[in-house]
């Protein structure tokens, strides 16, 4: 496509080349100058691409490869990395917190699906019916997404505070018993999921609203003529029409929630009694509290494999439907 020269050349030879190329008769150009021009074009293109390739190579492609090696190495800053075989994995599986962390993460992901999947869908379906105030509602549901996550976490930690916290005060006003939001082993994870849903549901809601807007109105009219009730229309028209986008957001949400970190890091620190230690929190401790990068890398590789499996499903879905 880009066969014409990009710069006006003073050489008569090149003028011929240009004229020949733009008139669609490249066969007349002498082969050597054509090759030289191709080389020059590629050099120019790679000059533009160079910085991009460099940052991707250094901070994306190289770490991917290195990550796989690190799992089998012992890394200290004092000396070069040493090969230790499966030692990191042996130590990893011996850590009682390892199983706890995966269980907790799976529990968080499951809870986040119950709240985080249903809430935005219901919200979007309702908002889509409104004929007024949609702009305001769309804006408010997205407001928390714009807050820095650290602000959200500190704010909710204050809400959950058993003393002057807002939530227990609200329960008191409603004559309900006060809760130990973050101090109870059973409730702590639910509390984290509540924050997470509040903070993130705006994105999904707006995506669903866009998808709902794309459903052809005739489908509803046809269903109505067939005597379908609102609930039947929702079940047989709306949801099937959104099947693809629902699958995508479901997978993206699983991918996102399995990497949960800041919620337990700020709100509970993994407690009470390790009930909220998640995979990434444990990985963070291995690497940046104990400086055991080999152990952390072994954990990273497992996380990579698990999440990579979900990514592959996502890729197949988008390939076949997109």
């Amino acid at each position: 496509m880009a066969t014409t020269d990009m710069r006006a050349q003073p050489l008569p030879e090149d003028t011929v080349v240009k004229a020949a190329a733009s008139s669609g008769k490249p066969g007349r150009t002498p082969p050597r100058s054509r090759l030289a021009r191709r080389v020059r074009e590629n050099l120019v293109a790679y000059a533009f691409l160079g910085a991009g390739i460099a940052v991707f190579a250094a901070f994306s492609w190289y770490p991917i490869v290195r990550g796989w090696l690190l799992g089998f190495q012992q890394v200290t800053f004092a000396q070069p990395a040493q090969w230790v075989g499966l030692d990191n994995f042996r130590r990893l599986f011996a850590d009682p917190l390892f199983v706890t962390a995966w269980q907790n993460t799976a529990w968080f992901t499951a809870l986040a699906l119950v709240f985080g999947f249903a809430a935005p869908l219901a919200t979007a379906v309702v908002l889509n019916e409104f004929r007024s105030a949609r702009g305001y509602l769309r804006m408010t549901v997205y407001l928390p997404v714009m807050l820095p996550p650290i602000v959200t976490m500190l704010l909710w930690r204050w809400f959950y505070d058993p003393g002057p916290g807002l939530f227990n005060n609200a329960l008191e006003v409603l004559h309900l018993p006060a809760q130990q939001w973050l101090e109870s082993e059973h409730l702590a994870m639910v509390s984290l999921v509540l924050v997470s849903t509040w903070a993130n549901m705006g994105t999904t809601t707006l995506i669903y609203l866009a998808a709902l807007g794309g459903i052809p109105g005739q489908l509803y009219e046809a269903a109505e003529l067939d005597g379908a009730s609102i609930r039947q229309r929702l079940w047989h028209v709306t949801l099937p029409q959104m099947r693809f986008i629902l699958m995508i957001t479901l997978l993206l949400q699983v991918l996102g929630t399995m990497q949960v970190f800041i919620e337990p890091y700020i709100l509970t620190g993994g407690g009470p009694n390790d009930a909220t230690v998640t995979v990434l929190l444990l990985l963070f401790r291995y690497a940046f509290v104990y400086n055991d990068f080999g152990l952390a890398s072994a954990m990273s590789m497992l996380l990579f494999v698990v999440l990579g499996a979900f990514s592959l499903v996502y890729l197949r879905l988008t390939r076949s439907n997109g």
């Binding site: 691409l49 290195r66 889509n128 019916e129 714009m146 399995m258 990273s300 996380l303």
Partner: protein, 294 residues
């Protein structure tokens, strides 16, 4: 998604019935109140809490409106605890990341879309493949790379480059920029070339002026992304003096008086909320572009 009355789940005839009208009003009002309480009120609570005195804040029976206003918590947080400096750090990190992302990613997307070098598609594929990889699984190797960058052997820890350079390796930017550039007709470029414009000139005077919408999306996401980031700056900027406001807040949360902490949280949030109110349309457009790709 227009606000004109399109046919949706519920038929207009159903809405116009008496019960339909009442129900619609009821649900609309309930949603308006509910959303305001759930999503807006917490922000009010944060901003007004920062105006209360420490004693009023510690009261187990919180007050809806501050008894007495103490705006000095904001200035104390800004100067005495040094959050102003961290705010500035965040600003520098965000603007630098924005600039570098724009330069690196626009040039790369332009080359891949319009200059089309040999093996360009392989490079594009390798870049887009990184979109599929879980960021957190690469946290440790990327961190170790930043402590000793291959070939040049420089330690970027405690420098802004530790944020800026990895941020530029952004496949999402490359993806939406290239897709946008692909739609710009080749004839426009050809005619510019016949007029004697080189590749830089074509990019600056033909491509970029046409690409304002996509540049806006990339810019907003670049600034917002760095501004919100917490885990990465937490590990690559251990020096307290270099930390952005997000990391500083988490470090100071245990020591600061409650009203100053709240004031700091408001200060950290305001730029993003202002950005959102100004660029709402772009942000929502970028969001749906990212999710409904293909």
């Amino acid at each position: 998604m227009s606000d004109t009355a399109e046919r949706t789940l519920i038929a207009p005839t159903e809405l116009n019935r008496r019960t339909g009208k009442i129900l619609y009003r009821f649900v609309l009002t309930a949603t308006l109140i509910g959303f305001t309480v759930v999503f807006v009120f917490p922000l009010y609570w944060m901003a007004s809490g920062a105006l209360k005195s420490s004693r009023e804040l510690a009261d187990p029976n919180p007050t809806l409106v501050p008894h007495s206003f103490h705006p000095e918590a904001y200035s104390e947080a800004w100067t005495n605890t040094g959050l102003g400096r961290h705010f500035l750090n965040t600003l520098i990190l965000a603007l630098g990341a924005w600039l570098i992302q724009l330069i690196v990613d626009v040039a790369a997307a332009y080359a891949l879309s319009k200059l089309r070098p040999v093996l360009g598609n392989v490079v594009l594929g390798m870049m887009l493949a990184t979109l599929m990889l879980p960021v957190s699984a690469l946290l440790v190797p990327t961190y170790l790379t930043v402590t000793d960058v291959p070939l040049i052997h420089v330690n970027l820890i405690n420098t802004p480059w530790a944020i800026w350079l990895p941020a530029a390796a952004n496949a999402f930017n490359i993806f939406i920029l290239k897709r946008f550039f692909d739609q710009i007709p080749q004839e426009l470029m050809d005619s510019a070339r016949i007029d004697g414009a080189g590749p830089v000139r074509v990019l600056v005077s033909v491509i970029l002026p046409l690409s304002r919408p996509v540049l806006a999306v990339v810019s907003i996401f670049a600034v917002v992304g760095v501004w919100k980031d917490f885990l990465w700056p937490l590990i690559v900027l251990p020096d307290p003096a270099k930390q952005p406001i997000t990391v500083a807040l988490s470090r100071l949360a245990e020591f600061l008086p409650a009203n100053q902490l709240l004031a700091g949280m408001v200060i950290a949030s305001i730029p993003l909320l202002v950005l959102f109110l100004i660029f709402q349309r772009h942000i929502i457009a970028g969001l749906t572009a990212g999710s409904l790709k293909g």
